[in-house]
Subunit: 120 residues, 2 copies
Amino acid sequence: MREFLAITKALSDETRVRALRALRDGELCLCHLVGLLELAPSTVSKHLDVLCQARLVERRKDGRWAHFRLAGRAAPPLARQALRWVLTALKDDVTIARDAKRLATLRGRDLKELAACYKS
Amino acid sequence: MREFLAITKALSDETRVRALRALRDGELCLCHLVGLLELAPSTVSKHLDVLCQARLVERRKDGRWAHFRLAGRAAPPLARQALRWVLTALKDDVTIARDAKRLATLRGRDLKELAACYKS
DNA sequence: TCCTCATTTCGTCAACTAACGAAGTATAGC
DNA sequence: GCTATACTTCGTTAGTTGACGAAATGAGGA
């Protein structure tokens, strides 16, 4: 039950769901997500932490950068089922579609340039 | 997105999840659920309201009694998918198993006797 | 070594949520 | 009609959550 509730709580916030969906097309670093979600880095970091705790997302540290990706084959079945459901459920969502567009341009830029964004 | 979040928020509370699972084996009235969950009637009523808003549960009024059941064929696809996932995900949960046992005895009693319970 | 900077942790505040009991609504039975 | 009662609504309270900025952490480069 604890594992199940960790997942549903993680999924019960719009920001986290948007982050999940953004990761669908591949790994992103925190600054990409900050750029997409337009929230303070500390806030985004916290949200990703919740997703990691629920085992929906995996964190990979690479030097100064933290990369996040959807949980893979090693994830618990419950988390994998949840991911499958979420990603199909939101296929046609408008918010998600808008994010996907912005993501396309964000992915183009390199990390250094992006990181500079969250000063302003 | 709003519909999706209504569902995940409804599923992110242990009491509501237990109520959902209890309804799996058929309709129950509020007093059954009060007996099972051991919370104030007003609290249980509120929880069921959240589940109904999310379209996971349907309410049927019969005289003084309110009967609740899992959403059926008329429910939105998103809610039905969610129900399918929840009910399979919690198949082996210990809390749920304990509830199932208590439910078996609760279902045996008639409504009048049950309702009297939640005075004491 | 020292500085820079991406990220995380911490402390705080406002908003939300779950719990309760009291009061309100509505129905069955007299 | 009147009463008892099953449920819902309302108001209050305690605990949780999400947001931020400031400070801490830790890796890369001068």
